[in-house]
Amino acid sequence: MTSGARIVTRVTLSRQDDTGVAGRVVNYSFQFGALAPYGDLIVEGAFQTLRLSAITMAVGLAIGLAGALARTSRVALARWAATAYVEIIRNTPLLVQLFVVFFGLPSLGVKLGAGAAALVALSVNLGAYATEIIRAGIDSVHKSQVEAGLSLGLTNLQVFRHIVLYQASKAVYPALASQFILLMLATSIASQIGADELFHAGAYVDSRTFRSFEVYAVITAVYLILALIFRALFGALHAVAFGPLSRRRR
């Protein structure tokens, strides 16, 4: 096995003249039009990405909440397990986790389809980050707030529900929103196991049109639009839940 195997690829185009860099760019006609017949596929891919993202966010958030509670639990085993989970997931790449789930689990008897594997790997991945974010948010609520609540005769659960939850949510919101957007972009990695989503749709169109640059330029642009939409939505939600609009005076 040759060490340091670098795959040197020369991608030559059928209409390339040898007239220097500028000439080559000019000679290469960007044929975005060739992608038109596949517009539907791309749009469908975008919706698949959105669906995958939405489900992953919900599951990942749930895992994160459970993880945060485990991390701050009095039960040593729960603390240890949650810490191990976070440290393992956050220190290994998503792609590797995806491959372990999709290619590795079958040898243990768990056969998942590409979509399911992507969901599992992405949720577990997001869950680890969410755990840390939520835990930091809970810790950020000042001890005096908890003490004031307890001193009024509220139980720990009541203190959490009425006093800590809102303030912790407000504290974690920006970090969590950023993480969700990163997740949406990271769903593109699921293309590597052939899951149905936007990037994979791009690979398909590429295999049909051979206009690789154009295809991926369009795909990337669609991701950008999705990211901007997400950012706007999260911003609006923040204003309603935590901003001046949230002050209800009954």
Partner: protein, 243 residues
């Protein structure tokens, strides 16, 4: 009838001994001011009374409940003991009214209407009847502390514990809070206050307790003890504070 009893209470934070055998009795209707230098254990002692801090030695009995016992009903106790801290008392995401009614509805399971009535009454007593729908960050420090007092009063406590509640306030806001305390005192509320306001202690408190290095160093009637301190430590403390 003693409402609060401390018997040889010991408490450490790790290797640091904060309370080294404190014994004290507070009777119903008494107003006791606790003074002393930082680190003498005053706040810690207060926080042990409603179970926020656990003690390592001795016994604490408050309103018949043995606080230091393992299975003590702290939740029930805390509904009968009001405590106000130096700062960050109020819940910033709730209106003033909701701050006051929260414990009434959630812990005491009252109906919203009844709780609202009580809130209006106690907020009126502290002079903030018009601020029901305000949020804490819209109030001054003095107003916030008064709301905190009202919130504790709403629970109809047997005794009020006040931990340096004016220490974090701008000087011009201290007066309004002290006036509320004076009113409470004349209404007959039992109060244990940790304070630096020596003047207030002399005029309003029945008894002064001077703490030094985790122990009760000197104790006696308010006026006499302050004008004629017996121990050297209290003398130097007073001369440092009353410069």
């Amino acid at each position: 009838m003693s409402l609060i009893e401390l018997h040889d209470v010991r408490k450490n934070f790790g290797p640091l001994e904060v309370l080294r055998g404190v014994s004290l009795c507070i009777h119903e209707g008494e107003i006791v001011a606790v003074i002393g230098p930082s680190g003498s254990g005053k706040s810690t002692m207060l926080r042990c009374l409603n179970g926020l801090e656990k003690i390592q030695g001795g016994r604490i009995v408050v309103d018949g409940t043995v606080v230091s016992a393992p299975g003590a009903d702290l939740i029930g106790l805390r509904q009968r003991v009001g405590i106000v801290f130096q700062s960050l008392n109020l819940f910033p995401h709730l209106t003033v009214e909701r701050n006051v009614t929260l414990a009434l509805t959630v812990a005491k399971k009252m109906h919203a209407a009844a709780a609202g009535e009580i809130a209006r009454e106690v907020l009126g007593r502290v002079g903030l009847g018009d601020k029901l729908l305000a949020y804490p960050d819209e109030l001054s420090g003095g107003q916030q502390q008064r709301v905190a007092i009202a919130r504790s009063l709403a629970m109809r406590p047997k005794v009020m514990l006040l931990d340096e509640i004016t220490s974090a306030l701008d000087p011009e806001l201290v007066g309004e809070v002290l006036r509320v305390l004076e009113q409470l005192a004349s209404d007959g509320m039992t109060m244990l206050l940790v304070t630096h306001e020596i003047g207030f202690a002399r005029n309003v408190a029945n008894r002064i307790v001077f703490m030094h290095e985790g122990r009760l160093w000197e104790e006696g009637p308010a006026r006499d003890t302050l004008t004629a301190p017996r121990t050297r430590e209290l003398q130097s403390f007073l001369s440092a504070v009353l410069h």
